[in-house]
Assembly symmetry: D2
Homo-oligomer: 255 residues x 4
C-alpha cells in the first residue's frame, strides 16, 4: 500500500502538532471551538469568528430526544448496551440531507446566488426571486426555509444579530433574509430555520459547503452524548417497542 | 408506545431550553464547551472547570490519520462518498475499550482507589500499590498508563498543571501520579497517557465513569470531521487497498 | 505498517478462493447459506447442518418494524436518504446484548453446563438447576428464556424438531429444554425464545459463542434491507417525530 | 406520534408472518435465500430465480480483507472489542457509490437502455453506443465495467451462463455484454465486473435499482462477519497503525 498522507496532524514521540501548532500550546491558549475552526480551516479564528462558531454549535447541540438523530441513538442504546460509541454513531448516521444536512444544500444555493450578487451586479432581492423560480422549475424545496415546529426559530435572529454586531455579516445573511421575504410573497410564510442560518453564517465566514454538514455533526454529537447517557441512566434496556400497524398480504400458504 | 421522557431539552413553537436555560441565552453568553458541560452535568461550569474541559477536548481532538478511528473514517469515505455522516460514524465506532475508551476504565479504577483514600484513610502511594497488585492478580492492564508512541505524553503534564493552577486537582490526579510512580518501581516505566489524564481530570471534576468515553467521542469527532474533509478533497475514491497476505487453506475442490 | 494476514480469501488477477474453494465453483454448486457456514467454519456443511442454518437465518430475518434494529434503521432512513448503507448500519448497531445478542450469552451458559454434563457426569436437569442457582446468586437474567410478545415462540419447536429429525440434536437442545422446565418450577413460566433456540442449535453444530451474535446479524440484515426499502418507498423523509415528555429543570436564567 | 405501518411482517403472540407466509412454514420449507427474495419482492422465487440469487450472494460475500468494507470492519474491531455489531456496521458503511454501489448505478443505466431496446426498437449494440456517448458527454464512468485487480472477472461469465441455462437471461445481460464490446472498441478493454453482472441479473429478475446496493449489502455482511471473527481470534487489539506522511504546515507559534 502506498503510504497515506495528511496535512492535519504531525505526531512523533515528543510532540503532536495540528496544522503546525503544538497541541500543548493549543490546550493552554486556545478553546475547543478555536481548535475546531483550525482543524477545518488551517488557521485560528478571530475573536468574532470564534464567537459565531460557538453560537452555531450551541444552537445545534440538541433539539430534543424525538429528532431522528437522538431517537436513533436511544433505540440503539436500548438494544445494545455494550458500546456507547455504537449508540452515538447511530445518531450521527441519521444526520443527512433531510436532517441537519440542509446546511450543505443551502450553502450551495447561497454560493450560486452570491455569484449573481457579487460586485453589486444584482440585488439580493432579485437573486432571491431568480433562485425561487429556479427551484420551483426543478421541483426542489428551498433549503434552509420552513420548520415543522417553530413559526419563527429564535436561534436565527440571535446568530444573525451576533454576526452583524461582529461586522461579519455578508452575502450569506443578506441573501437568506431576502429569500425569506421573497418566499413569503411568492409562496407562503416559510421562516428561516437553523440550517439556513448555519449556512448563511458559515458562508460569510468562508467555509466550504461540506462544512454545513460537518459543523452540524460536531455540534449534535454533544447532544447525542447526553441523550445516550440519559438513556443508560434512566431507562431499562429493550424498553422501547414502537407500535406498527400491518397493512400487507393476508395470511397465505406456501404452494 | 408509552411516550418517551427526557430531562434534557424542552422545545415548543417559540423556545428551546437545555436543562432549563434558553438556547438563545446560551448562544449569546455561553461557549460550546460550557454547553457540553451543561448537557453532561445539568449545570454550567465554573471558569476553571470550563478551562479544563476545553483543554481536554483540544488534547483529544486528533492524533493523526493512522489511528483506527481516523483510518476507519477515511476508508469509509473512500468507498462511500454518498454520506459524510457514514464516514464520521465509522470513526466513532472505532472508539472503544482499546482506543479512547481507557478513560472509562481508568475512572472506575480511580473511583475504587478514591474510596480507599478518602478521609485520609490511605495514602495515594499505598492505594496505587494495592491497585497494581489487584490488576496483576486479575491479569488486566492498568488503564491510563503506557503509550506506543510517546515516552512521555506532553499533554498529560499540561492538563495536570492547569488543574493545579485552577485549584481543581484532587484525588484523581494524586492517585494517577502515584500509580505512575508505583508502576515504574514494580513493573516498568509506563508513562501516564492521555486517557489516564482525561480520567484523572474528569474524576476530579465530578464526572461519572461513562463520561470518560463520551468526552473522548465529542473531542475526537472534531478531528474526524477534518480527516473526512481532507479525504474528500485530496484523495480519489477507492484509492486504498491494504495489502493482505493469505495464510489459509491451499486451493481445494468441492467434493 | 506490517502487512495484514488472513486465512479467509485468496484473490489474484484470475481467481478468488474462499478457504481454498474457488468462488466460481461455490457459485455453481453451493448455496449462500453453505458459503456462510464455510466462511464461519472453514468447511462446507453437511445437508443437515445446511438445513438447520437455513432455518435459523429465516427465523431471525425479521420480526417487525417495531424492534429496535428495524426502527433505528427506519429512523436513519428518515433523516438521511443519501446512503442506504447508513440506514442498514444503524439497524446493525441496535443488535447487542439486549437485542439478538442473548444468543452469545446463552452459548456461554450452555458451554459451562455442557462441561458439567459431558460423559454423563450430570443430568441436564441437575445442570439446569445448578445454572439457575448460579445466575440467581449473580442476579443475572437467564439468557435465551422469556419473551415479551410470545407466550410460546413457534420458531423454537420448529427448529428443535428439525435438529432432532436430522440427528443433530445434542447437549445444547437437551440443556435448554431442561432449563425451561426447571425455570418454570423454580421461578415462573419462561418460554424458550429464539435467541435460546439459536444458541442451542449453534452449540450443537459446534459454533463458537461469538457466532450467536454474528449469525443473528447476518439473518437480520436481510430484514433490515427490506425495512429500509419500504421506508424509502412508502414514507416521506423526516416523517417521524417521537413524542417526548420533558420532566427536567423548569425554565431558569444564566446567572 | 402517528402509528407506523408496514407490509412486511405481521407478528402477534402466536405467530409471525412475512408477506403473509408463516415464518414457521418458511423455516421448514424455504431457504434463507428464498426468504431474502420474499422480503425484497413480496413473493417466493422460482427455482431458477433462487439459484441465480444464491450465486450472486456467494459471488459478493467476500473479496479479501483489503477491500474498504473489510478493512474498516477490522480497524473498528481493533479499537473497539466491546461490540461485534460496531465492527460489522463499519464495514456496511464503507459500501457506497464507489464500493459495491455500482450495481445501483448500473441498474439505472440498464433501465434507460432497456427503454430504447424494448419491442425491438433498437439493437443492444446501438443502445450501448448511445449509452457510451451519453456517459462520455456527462464525463461519468460507465458503471459495472472495469476492475483494478481482475483482467476478466471469472464470476461474470459464471453467473451469466447460469442465467442463460435457466432461461432467465434478458435485456440486462444482452445490454451489458454489448456495452463491454462497444467500450472495447470505442474506449479501451474494460471487462465487465461483478457489480455489472449483479446489475444485469437483478434487472433481468425484475428487481428495482436500489436492490443493486441492498443485495450487495446482504451478501457482503456474510464476509464481514467472518473477517471480524478472524480479527478477534487472531489479532491483538490496537495492532494496527497505518503509516501516514505529514505534508502540511511546518511548526509555528500561536500569535
Amino acid at each position: 500500500m502506498a503510504s497515506w498522507r495528511s496535512r492535519i496532524v504531525q505526531a512523533d514521540a515528543e510532540s503532536i502538532r495540528i496544522h503546525g501548532y503544538s497541541v500543548v500550546d493549543l490546550m493552554r491558549r486556545a478553546s475547543f471551538v478555536e481548535t475546531i475552526f483550525l482543524l477545518q480551516r488551517g488557521r485560528l479564528p478571530s475573536a468574532g469568528e470564534r464567537k459565531l462558531l460557538d453560537a452555531l454549535l450551541v444552537g445545534i447541540a440538541d433539539h430534543g430526544s424525538g429528532a431522528p438523530s437522538c431517537a436513533a441513538a436511544r433505540l440503539v442504546a436500548s438494544g445494545n448496551r455494550q458500546s456507547l460509541s455504537a449508540a452515538v454513531a447511530a445518531g450521527v448516521l441519521a444526520i443527512g440531507d433531510h436532517h441537519g444536512g440542509a446546511g450543505e444544500a443551502a450553502m450551495e444555493m447561497i454560493a450560486a446566488a452570491g455569484k449573481m450578487m457579487q460586485n453589486g451586479q444584482m440585488t439580493a432581492a432579485l437573486a432571491a426571486e431568480k433562485t425561487i423560480a429556479e427551484y420551483r422549475r426543478r421541483g426542489t424545496h428551498l433549503p434552509g426555509l420552513g420548520h415543522r415546529v417553530h413559526t419563527s426559530d429564535p436561534r436565527v435572529e440571535t446568530v444573525f444579530g451576533m454576526a452583524e454586531a461582529e461586522g461579519l455579516a455578508g452575502i450569506g445573511i443578506e441573501f437568506m433574509r431576502a429569500l425569506e421575504v421573497a418566499a413569503r410573497a411568492q409562496i407562503k410564510p416559510l421562516p428561516l430555520n437553523i440550517d439556513g442560518a448555519l449556512a448563511a453564517i458559515l458562508f460569510d465566514l468562508g467555509f466550504a459547503p461540506q462544512a454545513g454538514m460537518l459543523i452540524f455533526l460536531i455540534g449534535r454529537v454533544a447532544g447525542l452524548a447526553a441523550e445516550v447517557a440519559e438513556e443508560y441512566e434512566r431507562e431499562r434496556p429493550m424498553r422501547i417497542r414502537i407500535d406498527v400497524e400491518y397493512d400487507g398480504e393476508p395470511p397465505r400458504e406456501i404452494k
